[in-house]
Structures are given as C-alpha cells and as structure tokens.
C-alpha cells in the first residue's frame, strides 16, 4: 500500500473506530448512539452560538497545547502548564480590575502580566533543572498546587474575603461586540486571534531562529549540543520560560475573554493537563497543536449538549469522548497494523 494511502487511512480509521466503540458503549448502557452523536454534532456546529462557544473553548487549549509542545521540543516535560495558566489567569484579572487605563495600554498590560506570571512560574522549574538537575516533572507538578492555593488565597485578599474578583474593566476585556452579535451572545472573544498568532510565533521561533535551532538541538541530544558549543542550561531555562509564557497567555484568555474575572477554584481547571494530550496529538508541531486543540475543544464543548439534547448522563458522555480521543491518539497502532498487513502480503 502506498504511503499516501496509509497517511489518509490512519486518521479516518482511528476516528471511525473511536466513534464505533463509543457507540457500543452507549448502546450497552441503554442510550441511542445516533441521538448521542447528533447531539454531539449539534453541540459543536449546531448554530452560530455553539460554533462561537466551540471556538472559545478551543482558544485556551491552543495555548496550553503550544506550551506543552514547546517544552517537549526542547526535551522538557512541562506538566506545570496548569499552574502557569492559573497564575496567568490571576495576573491578567488582577491587572484588569486594579487599574483603569485606556484600552490601548490596559489590554496589552493585562496580557503582559499574564505572560510574565506564567513565565515566572516556568522559570523556577527551568532554573532548578538547569542548575541542580532537579527533574522538571516533579517541580512543575508541585508548582501546580502552589499556584492553585496561592491564587485562591490572593483572590480572597483582593476581593476582601469573597470567592471571586470584580469583573474586569471594559478597557482590559477581549470580548467583542462584533462577535457577540454575530454568534448570538456566545463568549467568543478576540483571544482566538492571539492564540493563532502564537501558533505562528512558535513556528517562527522553532524553524527560523538560532534560538529555535538550539532548543531543538538540546531536545534531541543535550550532550551533543554542549559539545557543539551551545549553552544547554540557558536553553533549558529559556524553553521553560517561553513555555510558561504561552501557558500564562492561555490563562489570560480565560481572565480577559471567557470569564472576565477570576474565582477561587476547588480544583484544577484541567486545561493545562488536556494541553499535554493536545500537544501529543499534534506531534508537538505548531500546526498539529491547532488540530489537536480543535479536536479537543470541539469534543469537550460539544459533549455538553449530549446530556442536554439526548439525555445521556455526563459520566457516559465522558467515557465516549475519552474513547474517541483514545483511538485518535492510538493512530500509531493502526498504522503499525496496516504496515504489518502490507509486509505479510509482500512476503507471500
């Protein structure tokens, strides 16, 4: 079988298999898979409102995915995207409520605050990794908890004992009246453009700059990079800082676009962790992240409509969505299977 045919067949088969197994699960638990998938489809593309909300959901996934992918390319496993996103969320919301400035200054300032906060949260594990070889996975996981509970405490202080900050000033908001009118009051905001711009930025850094070349080299082989005269430690720190900055910006999307405030959280948002899957689905390339985030965001958002329209319990819906993503992610197995079959045939 030709290579091209395999490339085309693999994603199609994996999605179909995912849908099929998901359907079986629905049938076994006594629900109609057709109704379920129609509800899923309508939940994603049903009307302008859902399309707007789907895009809104994709926005933070894009940035979280970029953050994970960027670190991955430098050979680092950034599990701390969640925490970096939370501090970015808080920082942007804080700047949004603390001062009132002209939009042209206020909005960039709020975004910058999120970037700096996220970068700082990425800098600490980067520094520890570079200087003391502390594994970044441990540090970033722990930094997630620090981020969660520190921001909760800060929110209490800022709001005077409440559980959420005031809504941000209009001048810091990413919301757009144009989008709201277009999509029947969905929460779609200009952040989607920022996220897409960051996709281009990541591509540019990785493919067109010396820095990107060095980062990738460090990712492939640290010893070889060092031998070639690159400063490995500097590159590790930089990779984590940039990764954290992407994640912080993802938090700003929630702070300035989706919610327009920050509220204390009982647990993680999950966006950062899903970002890991988004990055891996997209094979850690900028364009791949766009596909990964679109798939993840659409399924996550569309799934909300399954209990609503088809009456399927949330738990079943979560299993079905997980199964679909599982099969998409296992594309490699299907590819292997196809290759084996092809080889066997040739042997004969």
């Amino acid at each position: 079988m030709s290579n091209r045919a395999t490339n085309l067949l693999v994603p199609i088969i994996s999605v179909l298999l995912g849908l099929l197994v998901g359907a079986i699960i629905m049938v076994v638990s006594g629900y109609s898979p057709i109704e379920g998938y129609v509800a899923l489809w309508n939940g994603i593309f049903g009307d302008l409102y859902t399309i707007g909300e789907t895009l809104r959901q994709i926005t933070p996934y894009l940035l979280a995915g970029l953050a994970v992918a960027f670190a991955f390319r430098s050979g680092l496993f950034n599990i701390g995207v969640e925490g970096q996103l939370i501090v970015g969320w808080f920082a942007a919301a804080y700047v949004g409520v603390a001062v009132e400035l002209p939009k042209i200054i206020h909005l960039p300032l709020a975004l910058l605050a999120a970037v700096v906060a996220g970068a700082l949260w990425g800098f600490v594990p980067g520094l520890l990794k570079a200087k003391f070889r502390v594994h970044e996975v441990i540090v970033t996981i722990m930094m997630n908890y620090i981020a969660l509970h520190t921001t909760n405490a800060l929110i209490r202080t800022v709001s005077g004992g409440g559980d959420r900050t005031e809504s941000i000033f209009e001048s810091a908001s990413l919301r757009s009246e144009f989008f709201q009118n277009l999509t029947d009051f969905s929460r779609l905001h200009y952040g989607i453009f920022i996220a897409l711009a960051m996709v281009a930025v990541m591509w540019f850094i990785l493919e067109k700059t010396t820095l990107g070349f060095e980062l990738k080299a460090v990712g492939f082989n640290q010893n070889a990079s060092e031998y070639a005269g690159m400063n490995v430690n500097k590159n590790i720190i930089l990779a984590m800082v940039i990764s954290g900055a992407f994640a912080g910006l993802g938090g700003a999307m929630e702070a300035l676009g989706t919610f327009e405030y920050v509220s204390s959280k009982g647990g993680f948002t999950g966006i950062g962790f899903d970002g890991i899957a988004v990055a891996l689905l997209g094979m850690n390339t900028p364009l791949g992240v766009v596909f990964g985030a679109s798939l993840f965001g659409s399924l996550k958002y569309g799934a909300l409509n399954m209990p609503n329209e088809a009456g399927i319990p949330v738990e079943i819906v979560e299993i079905v969505i997980a199964v679909i993503i599982f099969f998409v992610a296992s594309g490699y197995i299907i590819r292997l299977f196809l290759l084996r079959a092809a080889n066997k045939k040739e042997a004969k």
Partner: protein, 361 residues
C-alpha cells in the same frame, strides 16, 4: 490477500457511509422534534403548568447534599403537577467545570423552561451574565444575590443552623474537642463555621474547635484524611460543610466505628438529612444534620411562578424562623435533656435574643 484488505477497506467505507447517512436523516427528525418541543412548551403554558430546570455545580445531582436537595425539589414539584422529565417538564444539567455554567444555563433557557435555577454561589457570575442577556427568561439563584429584575435570589442563614449544631456538639463531646471540616473558603461555608463556633462557645466555652478547610467540594479523599487527623487529634464530633468532600468524613467515621463499636465517634451532616450516610451495620455515626431547605426554596419559587408571582429581583432569606434552616431528627443520638437546651437556644435565636455572627472573627 490484497483483495481481502480491499474488502475490509470497502466494508469500512460502507459502514461509515451508512453511519453518516443515518446521522443525516436523524438530524432532520431531530430538528422537527425541537419544533414540536417548542409547540408543547406553549401548550403547557396554556394549561398553566410551568416547566422548571436547574444547572448543578460540579458536585452533580448525587452529591448527597446541596445539588441533590435541589433536584429532589424539582422532582417533587414535577410530580405534584404531573410534569414529566424533559422538555416542558423538569430537567437538570450537570456542570463539569466552571466554564460550563453559562453554556448549561443558556441551553436550558433556549429549551424554553419557565424558570432556570443556578444551584450554588459559584454560579453567580454566570447567572448574572446570562440573565442580563436574556431579559425575558426567568432565573433563580441559590446562596447568592444577583440584582436583576429577572432573577430570584435565595439566601439562607446557615449560621443559625450551624449554631445549634455547635450547641449539640459542645454538650455531647466527651473529649472536649470537636472538629469542623469546610469545603471551599467562601462566604456560605464561612457562615457555617462562624455559627458552629459561636454555638460551641455559647454552650460550653471550654470546648475546643479544630477548624479545617479542604478547598474543594468534590474530593471525598481529602475529607477522609482531614477527618482522620481530627479524630486522631482527640476530636470526637466532626461537623462538615463540604458537600461531596464531606462523604469522606463519613467514611472515616464509619471505619473507626467498625474497628471499635464502642468508640464515641460522631458526624454532623449538612444540607440534607444525612442519616443514611452514617449507617454502619446496625450502628449509625450521624448525630444529626444541619438542614438547609434548598428543596423547599426551589419548590416555593416554582409555585410562586406558577401562580404568576415570580419573585424576580427579590432576595428571599430563609432562617430558623422561616423553617428554612433546622436540625434533623437525631433518632435518639441526642438525649432529651440536651434537646431541651438546643430548643431553648433555638427559641432565643428566633426571638432575636441571640444574633449569630456570619463571619469568623
């Protein structure tokens, strides 16, 4: 071999084709259905029956406390008025994260329910946003105030019920130490804590209160470890105001009771009568529960709406005096003489002689 593989590919394509085709045709009928749904909605309005729906927070309708009470309220209202679950009757949607609140509220509003409830303080921002966009739709929120003409707000004086729980705990403890396990550190839960502490203080100032927040409403394992620490630290009665997290407090207490049936280990439940949660063999660790009349409040708003008096823009406050807050039947766990003292305090609160603080000093 090559033929066989092509056969497989072909059948896969066929399967895909039929599935997609099925999707297409089903889609048509489903749009028709929604059309019908709208019609039947109008029909029910004519018969003066209203439809009600609610959005849960992340706890879900089986959290054995807050959300569950609200859902039971809707079910009861539905049964009394001959409604069916679904469009034009009563329904719920579960939120899996904060970002889902607005979507779920919006989805229910679009399905033409007459009143859409946001259950829980965490939903305030979302209710405010959707209610200001959809001015024709009636909303209700529990535990927070949204100042909009199309939102009915319901608040509870949790501190009054917690005060009585504090009195009960202070009079019943044998170790002189009791515990409080909170969920997230938000004003609602702080009212429970403040009331509980004030109650203990009023009944027996020498009793020590160990107060801990777990930071979550849906983490039973955290509730269990926190309760473990408290019981190990000498507390014998733990009051929880932590939703699903509190289920872990029950688990811990039951394990201790099972290991040593003679142990003096008690839990005070919250929101609903949690007697069933505390059952272990033929013993029970639930001393009593602080009842919060979410169910009653939900029904009352629905009934008022049905009568054409939707309390939009108003805030209804339920306390001991309104019977919106109270203690559950202890089923003999609390002896008669202690009960009389609790009743005494209750009367004083109702008469306004005791003002229970809302925040911890």
């Amino acid at each position: 071999m090559i033929k066989r593989k092509f056969g497989l590919g072909l059948s896969l394509m066929l399967a895909a084709g039929t599935m997609l085709a099925a999707c297409g045709s089903e889609e048509d009928t489903s749009t028709e259905n929604t059309g019908n749904g709208g019609d039947s909605g109008e029909a029910t309005e004519e018969s003066s029956n209203i439809s009600v729906a609610m959005v849960t927070d992340v706890g879900g309708i089986d959290d054995k406390s807050f959300n569950q009470s609200a859902w039971e309220g809707l079910q009861k209202f539905g049964e009394e008025n001959g409604l069916e679950e679904g469009d034009g009757g009563y329904a719920y949607l579960t939120s899996t994260s904060d970002a889902d609140y607005t979507t779920n509220l919006n989805n229910l509003a679009r399905r033409d329910f007459d009143v859409v409830y946001g259950i829980g303080a965490l939903m305030q921002g979302a209710v405010e946003e959707i209610a200001s966009q959809q001015e024709e739709q009636q909303f209700a929120i529990i535990d927070e105030v949204v100042e909009l003409p199309n939102v009915a707000s319901v608040m509870f004086k949790e501190q009054e019920g917690a005060f009585l729980a504090g009195v009960a705990a202070a009079l019943m403890t044998e170790t002189g130490k009791v515990g409080f396990v909170g969920g997230m550190e938000i004003p609602v839960i702080e009212r429970f804590e403040a009331g509980f502490k004030a109650g203990v203080e009023a009944a027996d100032p020498s009793v020590e209160v160990d107060s801990q927040y777990t930071g979550a409403f849906d983490k039973a394992e955290l509730g269990k470890t926190t309760a473990n620490r408290m019981y190990s630290g000498g507390a014998d009665i733990v009051f929880h105001a932590a939703g699903g997290t509190g289920n872990g407090v029950f688990t811990e207490a039951k394990e201790r009771k099972e290991a040593d049936p003679e142990a003096n280990i008690w839990v005070i439940g919250v929101d609903a009568d949690q007697y069933d949660e505390g059952q272990i063999g033929d013993q029970n660790v639930t001393m009593t529960s602080v009842l919060k009349g979410v169910e009653m409040a939900v029904i009352e708003i629905a009934e008022k709406t049905q009568a054409g008096e939707f309390p939009g823009g108003e805030t209804t406050v339920y306390g001991l005096a309104e019977d919106g807050i109270g203690l559950a039947d202890s089923r003999g766990a609390i002896p008669e003489d202690v009960m009389t003292q609790i009743e005494d305090f209750k009367q004083q609160i109702i008469d306004g002689e005791i003002e229970v603080p809302e925040t911890v000093e």
